[in-house]
Amino acid sequence: MKSSEVPGVFSNIPVPDYDLTKAVGGPPISKRKVALISTAGLMHRGEPAFSIDSIDYRIIDSKDETELVMSHVSVNFDRTGFALDYNVVFPIDRLREKVAAKEVGELSRYHYSFMGAVSPEKLRPAAAELSKNLLADKVDGVILIPI
Protein backbone atom coordinates (compact mmCIF):
# COMPACT_ATOMS: atom_id res chain seq x y z
CA MET A 1 0.00 0.00 0.00
CA LYS A 2 1.39 3.36 -0.97
CA SER A 3 0.56 6.46 1.04
CA SER A 4 -1.11 7.89 -2.08
CA GLU A 5 -3.64 5.03 -1.94
CA VAL A 6 -4.91 6.10 1.48
CA PRO A 7 -4.73 9.92 1.36
CA GLY A 8 -7.34 10.39 4.05
CA VAL A 9 -5.25 8.52 6.60
CA PHE A 10 -2.23 10.78 6.39
CA SER A 11 -4.07 14.03 5.88
CA ASN A 12 -5.76 13.43 9.25
CA ILE A 13 -2.49 12.96 11.11
CA PRO A 14 -1.46 16.31 12.63
CA VAL A 15 1.98 17.51 11.67
CA PRO A 16 3.80 19.99 13.92
CA ASP A 17 5.02 23.29 12.53
CA TYR A 18 8.75 23.58 12.27
CA ASP A 19 10.93 26.54 11.42
CA LEU A 20 12.68 26.19 8.10
CA THR A 21 16.26 25.03 8.63
CA LYS A 22 18.80 25.79 5.96
CA ALA A 23 20.95 22.99 4.66
CA VAL A 24 24.59 23.26 5.60
CA GLY A 25 27.39 22.26 3.31
CA GLY A 26 30.19 19.83 3.93
CA PRO A 27 32.85 17.68 2.37
CA PRO A 28 32.16 15.38 -0.56
CA ILE A 29 30.37 12.16 0.30
CA SER A 30 33.57 10.22 -0.27
CA LYS A 31 34.99 12.01 2.78
CA ARG A 32 31.94 11.79 5.02
CA LYS A 33 31.05 9.51 7.90
CA VAL A 34 27.48 8.36 7.38
CA ALA A 35 24.87 7.03 9.81
CA LEU A 36 21.34 5.70 9.36
CA ILE A 37 18.39 6.66 11.54
CA SER A 38 15.26 4.54 11.12
CA THR A 39 11.74 4.87 12.47
CA ALA A 40 10.98 1.18 11.93
CA GLY A 41 11.24 0.14 15.56
CA LEU A 42 14.45 -1.80 14.93
CA MET A 43 16.48 -3.32 17.73
CA HIS A 44 18.96 -6.09 18.34
CA ARG A 45 17.29 -9.37 19.33
CA GLY A 46 17.02 -9.77 23.08
CA GLU A 47 16.33 -6.12 23.84
CA PRO A 48 12.89 -5.16 25.18
CA ALA A 49 10.42 -4.48 22.41
CA PHE A 50 9.29 -0.94 21.71
CA SER A 51 5.92 -0.29 23.27
CA ILE A 52 2.99 1.87 22.29
CA ASP A 53 4.08 5.52 22.74
CA SER A 54 7.76 4.59 23.04
CA ILE A 55 9.76 7.81 22.93
CA ASP A 56 13.18 6.26 23.21
CA TYR A 57 15.60 5.24 20.48
CA ARG A 58 17.81 2.19 20.18
CA ILE A 59 21.41 1.96 19.18
CA ILE A 60 22.07 -0.26 16.19
CA ASP A 61 25.70 -1.28 16.52
CA SER A 62 27.08 -2.18 13.11
CA LYS A 63 29.67 -4.40 14.78
CA ASP A 64 27.03 -6.33 16.73
CA GLU A 65 26.14 -9.43 14.79
CA THR A 66 23.01 -10.06 16.85
CA GLU A 67 20.24 -10.02 14.31
CA LEU A 68 17.99 -7.05 13.84
CA VAL A 69 14.31 -7.47 14.59
CA MET A 70 11.43 -5.06 14.22
CA SER A 71 8.94 -4.20 16.95
CA HIS A 72 7.05 -1.31 15.37
CA VAL A 73 3.48 -1.26 16.69
CA SER A 74 1.71 -0.41 13.42
CA VAL A 75 0.21 -3.20 11.34
CA ASN A 76 -0.52 -0.91 8.40
CA PHE A 77 2.62 -1.38 6.38
CA ASP A 78 4.09 -4.27 4.44
CA ARG A 79 6.26 -6.54 6.58
CA THR A 80 7.30 -8.98 3.87
CA GLY A 81 10.00 -6.61 2.65
CA PHE A 82 11.89 -6.71 5.94
CA ALA A 83 11.39 -10.45 6.19
CA LEU A 84 12.90 -10.88 2.72
CA ASP A 85 15.75 -8.40 3.06
CA TYR A 86 16.42 -6.07 5.99
CA ASN A 87 18.29 -3.72 3.63
CA VAL A 88 14.99 -2.63 2.10
CA VAL A 89 14.28 -1.07 5.51
CA PHE A 90 17.78 -0.51 6.85
CA PRO A 91 20.38 -0.49 4.04
CA ILE A 92 23.43 -1.10 6.20
CA ASP A 93 24.98 -3.62 3.80
CA ARG A 94 24.52 -1.21 0.91
CA LEU A 95 26.35 1.48 2.88
CA ARG A 96 29.17 -0.95 3.63
CA GLU A 97 29.45 -1.61 -0.08
CA LYS A 98 29.62 2.11 -0.80
CA VAL A 99 32.40 2.50 1.74
CA ALA A 100 34.27 -0.42 0.16
CA ALA A 101 33.83 1.26 -3.23
CA LYS A 102 35.12 4.54 -1.71
CA GLU A 103 31.86 6.30 -2.62
CA VAL A 104 31.23 6.99 1.07
CA GLY A 105 34.11 7.94 3.36
CA GLU A 106 33.25 5.91 6.44
CA LEU A 107 30.40 3.93 7.98
CA SER A 108 29.45 5.13 11.44
CA ARG A 109 29.73 2.31 13.92
CA TYR A 110 26.48 3.39 15.56
CA HIS A 111 23.12 3.85 13.91
CA TYR A 112 19.76 4.40 15.52
CA SER A 113 16.10 3.52 15.43
CA PHE A 114 13.00 5.15 16.81
CA MET A 115 9.53 3.58 16.73
CA GLY A 116 7.79 6.09 14.53
CA ALA A 117 4.13 5.64 15.52
CA VAL A 118 4.42 8.43 18.06
CA SER A 119 3.77 12.14 17.88
CA PRO A 120 6.98 13.78 16.64
CA GLU A 121 6.85 16.35 19.42
CA LYS A 122 7.23 13.58 21.99
CA LEU A 123 10.39 12.40 20.24
CA ARG A 124 12.04 15.81 20.30
CA PRO A 125 14.03 15.32 23.56
CA ALA A 126 15.39 11.96 22.43
CA ALA A 127 16.20 13.37 19.00
CA ALA A 128 18.13 16.22 20.61
CA GLU A 129 20.10 13.73 22.68
CA LEU A 130 20.75 11.56 19.63
CA SER A 131 22.11 14.54 17.70
CA LYS A 132 24.76 14.95 20.43
CA ASN A 133 25.78 11.33 19.91
CA LEU A 134 26.21 11.99 16.21
CA LEU A 135 28.29 15.10 16.82
CA ALA A 136 30.44 13.28 19.36
CA ASP A 137 31.04 10.51 16.82
CA LYS A 138 31.86 13.10 14.13
CA VAL A 139 29.11 11.84 11.86
CA ASP A 140 28.59 14.34 9.05
CA GLY A 141 26.06 12.57 6.89
CA VAL A 142 22.75 11.11 8.10
CA ILE A 143 19.96 9.39 6.21
CA LEU A 144 16.60 9.42 7.98
CA ILE A 145 14.59 6.39 6.86
CA PRO A 146 10.83 6.01 7.31
CA ILE A 147 8.86 2.81 7.40
Binding site: K2, A23, G25, R79, P146
Partner: protein, 221 residues
Protein backbone atom coordinates in the same frame (compact mmCIF):
# COMPACT_ATOMS: atom_id res chain seq x y z
CA UNK B 1 18.69 14.15 4.65
CA UNK B 2 15.27 12.51 4.88
CA UNK B 3 13.68 9.81 2.79
CA UNK B 4 9.91 10.14 2.60
CA UNK B 5 7.09 7.77 1.68
CA UNK B 6 4.40 10.36 2.51
CA UNK B 7 5.04 13.42 0.36
CA UNK B 8 2.23 15.55 1.77
CA UNK B 9 3.73 15.27 5.26
CA UNK B 10 7.25 15.90 3.99
CA UNK B 11 6.10 19.06 2.23
CA UNK B 12 4.40 20.33 5.39
CA UNK B 13 7.43 19.65 7.59
CA UNK B 14 9.86 20.82 4.90
CA UNK B 15 13.20 19.58 6.22
CA UNK B 16 16.29 20.85 4.40
CA UNK B 17 16.63 17.84 2.11
CA UNK B 18 13.95 15.29 1.14
CA UNK B 19 14.01 12.44 -1.33
CA UNK B 20 10.36 11.55 -1.99
CA UNK B 21 9.87 7.88 -2.80
CA UNK B 22 7.01 6.20 -4.71
CA UNK B 23 7.22 2.88 -2.84
CA UNK B 24 4.82 0.98 -0.63
CA UNK B 25 4.87 1.65 3.09
CA UNK B 26 7.30 -0.78 4.71
CA UNK B 27 9.76 -0.77 1.79
CA UNK B 28 11.56 2.57 1.87
CA UNK B 29 14.41 1.29 -0.30
CA UNK B 30 11.87 -0.06 -2.74
CA UNK B 31 12.95 -3.49 -3.89
CA UNK B 32 14.01 -6.26 -1.50
CA UNK B 33 16.85 -8.57 -2.55
CA UNK B 34 17.75 -6.02 -5.23
CA UNK B 35 21.06 -4.42 -4.27
CA UNK B 36 21.36 -2.55 -7.55
CA UNK B 37 18.01 -0.81 -7.08
CA UNK B 38 18.73 -0.02 -3.43
CA UNK B 39 22.06 1.50 -4.46
CA UNK B 40 20.29 3.80 -6.90
CA UNK B 41 17.98 5.01 -4.14
CA UNK B 42 20.96 5.60 -1.86
CA UNK B 43 22.85 7.40 -4.62
CA UNK B 44 19.96 9.82 -5.01
CA UNK B 45 19.76 10.31 -1.24
CA UNK B 46 23.48 10.80 -0.70
CA UNK B 47 23.63 13.18 -3.65
CA UNK B 48 21.37 15.59 -1.78
CA UNK B 49 23.79 15.86 1.15
CA UNK B 50 26.08 18.16 -0.79
CA UNK B 51 23.29 20.42 -2.04
CA UNK B 52 22.66 23.54 0.02
CA UNK B 53 19.90 25.39 -1.87
CA UNK B 54 17.24 24.27 0.61
CA UNK B 55 14.51 23.29 1.09
CA UNK B 56 15.17 20.57 -1.43
CA UNK B 57 12.38 18.19 -2.43
CA UNK B 58 13.44 15.67 -5.03
CA UNK B 59 11.16 12.98 -6.36
CA UNK B 60 12.68 9.57 -7.02
CA UNK B 61 10.71 8.47 -10.05
CA UNK B 62 12.00 4.97 -10.74
CA UNK B 63 9.43 2.35 -9.80
CA UNK B 64 10.40 -1.05 -8.48
CA UNK B 65 10.70 -3.79 -11.10
CA UNK B 66 7.34 -5.43 -11.75
CA UNK B 67 8.56 -8.93 -11.06
CA UNK B 68 9.33 -7.75 -7.52
CA UNK B 69 5.77 -6.57 -7.08
CA UNK B 70 3.93 -9.54 -8.42
CA UNK B 71 4.77 -13.10 -9.28
CA UNK B 72 1.31 -13.97 -10.47
CA UNK B 73 -1.20 -15.84 -8.40
CA UNK B 74 0.30 -16.91 -5.10
CA UNK B 75 -0.54 -20.34 -3.81
CA UNK B 76 -0.08 -21.24 -0.15
CA UNK B 77 2.65 -23.88 0.19
CA UNK B 78 0.34 -26.10 2.17
CA UNK B 79 -3.36 -26.79 2.20
CA UNK B 80 -5.45 -26.34 5.26
CA UNK B 81 -8.47 -28.58 5.44
CA UNK B 82 -11.71 -26.64 4.98
CA UNK B 83 -13.47 -28.99 7.43
CA UNK B 84 -10.83 -28.34 10.07
CA UNK B 85 -10.97 -24.61 9.43
CA UNK B 86 -14.67 -24.56 10.19
CA UNK B 87 -14.26 -26.12 13.65
CA UNK B 88 -14.54 -23.64 16.45
CA UNK B 89 -11.41 -24.67 18.39
CA UNK B 90 -9.18 -22.03 16.87
CA UNK B 91 -6.11 -22.68 19.07
CA UNK B 92 -6.22 -26.37 18.09
CA UNK B 93 -6.54 -25.47 14.42
CA UNK B 94 -3.68 -23.02 14.71
CA UNK B 95 -1.57 -25.74 16.32
CA UNK B 96 -2.20 -27.94 13.27
CA UNK B 97 -1.44 -25.10 10.86
CA UNK B 98 1.79 -24.26 12.62
CA UNK B 99 2.86 -27.89 12.60
CA UNK B 100 2.38 -27.92 8.82
CA UNK B 101 4.17 -24.61 8.38
CA UNK B 102 7.07 -25.28 10.72
CA UNK B 103 9.31 -27.09 8.21
CA UNK B 104 8.94 -24.11 5.84
CA UNK B 105 9.64 -21.67 8.65
CA UNK B 106 12.71 -23.57 9.82
CA UNK B 107 13.99 -23.95 6.28
CA UNK B 108 13.70 -20.22 5.71
CA UNK B 109 15.41 -19.40 9.00
CA UNK B 110 18.27 -21.74 8.14
CA UNK B 111 18.72 -20.36 4.65
CA UNK B 112 18.62 -16.70 5.68
CA UNK B 113 20.27 -17.05 9.06
CA UNK B 114 17.69 -14.73 10.57
CA UNK B 115 14.06 -14.39 11.52
CA UNK B 116 11.73 -11.65 12.69
CA UNK B 117 10.05 -14.13 15.01
CA UNK B 118 10.63 -14.10 18.74
CA UNK B 119 9.94 -10.65 20.12
CA UNK B 120 7.25 -11.95 22.47
CA UNK B 121 8.25 -13.79 25.63
CA UNK B 122 6.25 -16.86 24.64
CA UNK B 123 7.14 -20.18 23.10
CA UNK B 124 5.68 -20.95 19.70
CA UNK B 125 3.13 -23.39 21.08
CA UNK B 126 1.92 -20.88 23.67
CA UNK B 127 1.15 -18.01 21.29
CA UNK B 128 -2.33 -19.05 20.16
CA UNK B 129 -3.60 -20.16 23.60
CA UNK B 130 -2.39 -16.86 25.09
CA UNK B 131 -4.06 -14.78 22.39
CA UNK B 132 -7.24 -16.84 22.71
CA UNK B 133 -7.46 -16.00 26.43
CA UNK B 134 -8.33 -12.43 25.46
CA UNK B 135 -11.15 -13.64 23.23
CA UNK B 136 -12.37 -16.05 25.89
CA UNK B 137 -12.46 -13.25 28.44
CA UNK B 138 -9.81 -14.79 30.66
CA UNK B 139 -7.63 -11.72 30.16
CA UNK B 140 -9.08 -8.25 29.80
CA UNK B 141 -6.51 -5.86 31.06
CA UNK B 142 -4.24 -3.35 29.44
CA UNK B 143 -1.53 -4.71 31.71
CA UNK B 144 -1.19 -7.53 29.21
CA UNK B 145 -1.96 -5.58 26.05
CA UNK B 146 1.68 -5.15 25.02
CA UNK B 147 2.28 -8.89 25.45
CA UNK B 148 -0.84 -9.51 23.39
CA UNK B 149 0.41 -7.18 20.67
CA UNK B 150 3.83 -8.86 20.59
CA UNK B 151 2.26 -12.34 20.55
CA UNK B 152 0.08 -11.33 17.61
CA UNK B 153 3.12 -9.95 15.78
CA UNK B 154 5.07 -13.15 16.42
CA UNK B 155 2.21 -15.31 15.18
CA UNK B 156 2.04 -13.20 12.04
CA UNK B 157 5.81 -13.39 11.55
CA UNK B 158 5.81 -17.19 11.84
CA UNK B 159 3.16 -17.60 9.15
CA UNK B 160 4.60 -14.89 6.93
CA UNK B 161 8.12 -16.29 6.96
CA UNK B 162 6.92 -19.83 6.34
CA UNK B 163 4.86 -18.62 3.39
CA UNK B 164 7.77 -16.62 1.98
CA UNK B 165 9.76 -19.84 1.67
CA UNK B 166 7.76 -20.66 -1.43
CA UNK B 167 9.99 -19.62 -4.36
CA UNK B 168 8.74 -16.44 -5.98
CA UNK B 169 6.33 -15.64 -3.19
CA UNK B 170 6.98 -11.93 -3.06
CA UNK B 171 3.70 -10.44 -4.21
CA UNK B 172 2.93 -7.61 -1.86
CA UNK B 173 -0.38 -8.18 -0.14
CA UNK B 174 -1.03 -11.75 -1.35
CA UNK B 175 0.57 -13.44 1.63
CA UNK B 176 -1.04 -11.07 4.07
CA UNK B 177 -4.44 -11.63 2.42
CA UNK B 178 -3.93 -15.38 2.79
CA UNK B 179 -3.00 -14.99 6.45
CA UNK B 180 -5.95 -12.80 7.40
CA UNK B 181 -8.59 -14.52 5.26
CA UNK B 182 -7.61 -18.16 4.97
CA UNK B 183 -5.91 -19.21 8.21
CA UNK B 184 -7.19 -19.98 11.66
CA UNK B 185 -4.48 -17.69 13.04
CA UNK B 186 -5.79 -14.72 11.10
CA UNK B 187 -9.33 -15.56 12.12
CA UNK B 188 -8.39 -15.73 15.80
CA UNK B 189 -6.60 -12.37 15.74
CA UNK B 190 -9.53 -10.73 13.93
CA UNK B 191 -11.92 -12.13 16.52
CA UNK B 192 -9.72 -10.97 19.39
CA UNK B 193 -9.40 -7.49 17.90
CA UNK B 194 -13.16 -7.14 17.51
CA UNK B 195 -13.79 -8.54 20.99
CA UNK B 196 -11.22 -6.32 22.69
CA UNK B 197 -12.67 -3.21 21.08
CA UNK B 198 -15.52 -3.71 23.55
CA UNK B 199 -13.16 -3.95 26.53
CA UNK B 200 -13.90 -1.77 29.56
CA UNK B 201 -10.22 -0.82 29.47
CA UNK B 202 -9.85 2.18 27.10
CA UNK B 203 -6.19 1.46 26.41
CA UNK B 204 -6.94 -2.12 25.40
CA UNK B 205 -9.80 -0.89 23.23
CA UNK B 206 -7.43 1.48 21.46
CA UNK B 207 -4.79 -1.23 21.00
CA UNK B 208 -7.41 -3.56 19.56
CA UNK B 209 -8.73 -0.95 17.19
CA UNK B 210 -5.43 0.32 15.82
CA UNK B 211 -2.62 -2.14 16.40
CA UNK B 212 -3.79 -5.70 15.88
CA UNK B 213 -5.31 -5.97 12.42
CA UNK B 214 -4.52 -3.86 9.33
CA UNK B 215 -7.03 -1.16 8.56
CA UNK B 216 -7.73 -2.68 5.16
CA UNK B 217 -8.89 -5.89 6.89
CA UNK B 218 -10.92 -4.29 9.69
CA UNK B 219 -11.52 -0.66 8.76
CA UNK B 220 -11.28 1.94 11.48
CA UNK B 221 -14.57 3.68 12.26
Amino acid sequence: MALSLVPQQAKKISPPRVLSLPFVLGRPLGSPEDASFQHRVLDAALGLLTQTDSPIFLEFTEEVPQDTQSSGEWICPISFSKEEAEEEDLPANIKKEMALLRPWFERRKASLGRTSFGIADLNTEDLAPFIHEFFAGVRDSNHDSLRLKLAIDDLNAFYLEAALQRPGATEIGAIEDWYWNETAAGELVRKVAIHCQKSPDPALRQTAKLLMVPQRIIPWD
